[in-house]
């Protein structure tokens, strides 16, 4: 399978076979991501890291990945430093970055920005988040984490918890999990339910789906609990918000009656969704999940530039 020159814009652009290939290749990257082995496959290559919207976590993960492969990085982390502030089009900024580098990673506050960038670039573009839109490398690393922890994705009982209405990264994840044949339970407050079109899309892929607002019951049979943040702005008043947040608080008491092999994931940063006491348990994999972003991104940088291990 050849990914050289391809873009990574949306997880929906990939078949299951292609995703499998990428996940398998990312496994090979783990010792290099940990610094146990070294490689210089991207020596002489330059990555443009264009963060039109700040995201320290994602940016550091990409920069670590590029450094581990011995490539170089140029770019900006702060949109106030860019000429876009002076009214330059995204298309022009991309044409410039294309001339200076071998691959582009970008995050932008507008939906579809990465898709547009790819049209103007002859070097590969990786979407590191476009507004409320897509964030495919997050989706890859989430799948990768489940695969590493559970050995397979199909048949797993996965709960997606939190804001399922506005969080579009969780829409992509639901799609990808359905593609893999996972069993899905959507747990959310009534006003933040998974949109109908996503539910029917998952059903068309053959997934069994349940929707509920009650976590305590759903969690008993779960293999994976994927927690997302619920934003205060989504609620008419603070009282309602506090009530909902209280119901979905993950703490050790809630975890008394769960499957002993349950894993808890979170894209981070978390606020109050998961109590710190849970960090010490074997259920918590969210910090490993964050690390898994590095081998995944190494794999993508390597495959897209065509310089492989």
């Amino acid at each position: 399978m050849n990914f050289k020159g391809k873009d990574i814009i949306s997880i929906r652009d990939f078949s299951k076979t292609e995703i499998n290939f990428i996940l398998k290749y990312a496994k090979k990257m783990i010792p290099y991501a940990k610094g146990e082995k070294t490689t210089d496959i991207l020596h002489g290559k330059v990555l443009s890291s264009l963060f039109f919207e700040p995201s320290t976590r994602t940016r550091l993960s990409f920069e670590s990945a590029m450094n581990r492969l011995n490539g170089k990085i140029i770019g900006f982390a702060d949109p106030t430093a860019t000429s876009q502030k002076k009214g330059e089009s995204l298309a022009d900024t991309i044409r410039m970055a294309e001339a200076y580098s071998d691959i582009i990673v970008m995050r932008h506050h507008l939906e579809g920005a990465a898709r547009l960038a790819a049209e103007f670039s002859n070097v590969p573009v990786i979407n590191a988040g476009d507004g409320a839109g897509r964030h495919p490398t997050q989706c890859f690393l989430d799948l990768f984490t489940i695969l590493l922890e559970k050995k397979k994705i199909d048949g797993q009982n996965v709960i997606l918890l939190g804001d399922l209405k506005y969080g579009r990264t969780v829409h992509s994840l639901a799609y990808a999990l359905a593609l893999y044949g996972a069993e899905l339970t959507f747990v959310s407050p009534k006003n933040l339910q998974m949109p109908k079109e996503i539910v029917s899309e998952c059903k068309e892929l053959g997934a069994n789906i349940q929707s509920t607002s009650k976590l305590d019951k759903a969690i008993r049979n779960a293999d994976v609990l994927y927690v997302t943040r619920i934003q205060k702005e989504r609620f008419p008043d603070a009282e309602e918000y506090n009530q909902v947040v209280g119901t979905y608080q993950i703490n050790n008491e809630l975890l008394n009656n769960v499957n002993e092999n349950l894993i808890i994931m979170h894209p981070l940063p978390r606020v109050t969704e998961i109590s710190p006491e849970v960090d010490q348990t074997d259920f918590a994999v969210y910090f490993k999940q964050a690390f898994n972003g590095v081998p995944i991104r190494m794999a993508l940088l390597s495959l897209l530039t065509g310089e492989t291990l």
């Binding site: 949306s10 009214g87 089009s89 995204l90 298309a91 932008h108 506050h109 507008l110 939906e111 579809g112 920005a113 898709r115 547009l116 049209e119 476009d130 507004g131 409320a132 839109g133 897509r134 079109e197």
Partner: protein, 151 residues
Amino acid sequence: MKSLKIPLIKNGTVIDHISAGNAVKVIYILQVTQSLESVVSVAMNVKGILGKKDILKIENRELARREVDKIALIAPKATINIIRDYKVIKKHRVKLPDEIIGIAVCPNPTCISNYKEPVESRFIVIDKEIPRIKCYYCERELEEIADKIIS
């Protein structure tokens, strides 16, 4: 052609079965008014067997299939009749292409296509029959397509 309530034309294109009230939007999409040679006549709210419809006549111009198929967006039942010497020499029903460039505007205010970028709006046709289209950039689906036509 005998059923037509507007005078016959010698040469040109007759677009029949446009959903009533949409003829003006069809003219806009086809941009026929820009070619000054053509006489364009419109009949609106014509009573047909299947209820009211609009009919559009464009004289001395034979519209090519790819030019005209995009009107299926707002007139999915329209038929195209190519007329030569008062005779219908070709007739077909419009069929949406796979992609629609320009014409409509993405309803998503935070979509990159609504900002000053050197691109036209672009939509992927996800259902040719209903019809349903979604933005190529932000993937948002358009509802009430007729209202989103650029004019």
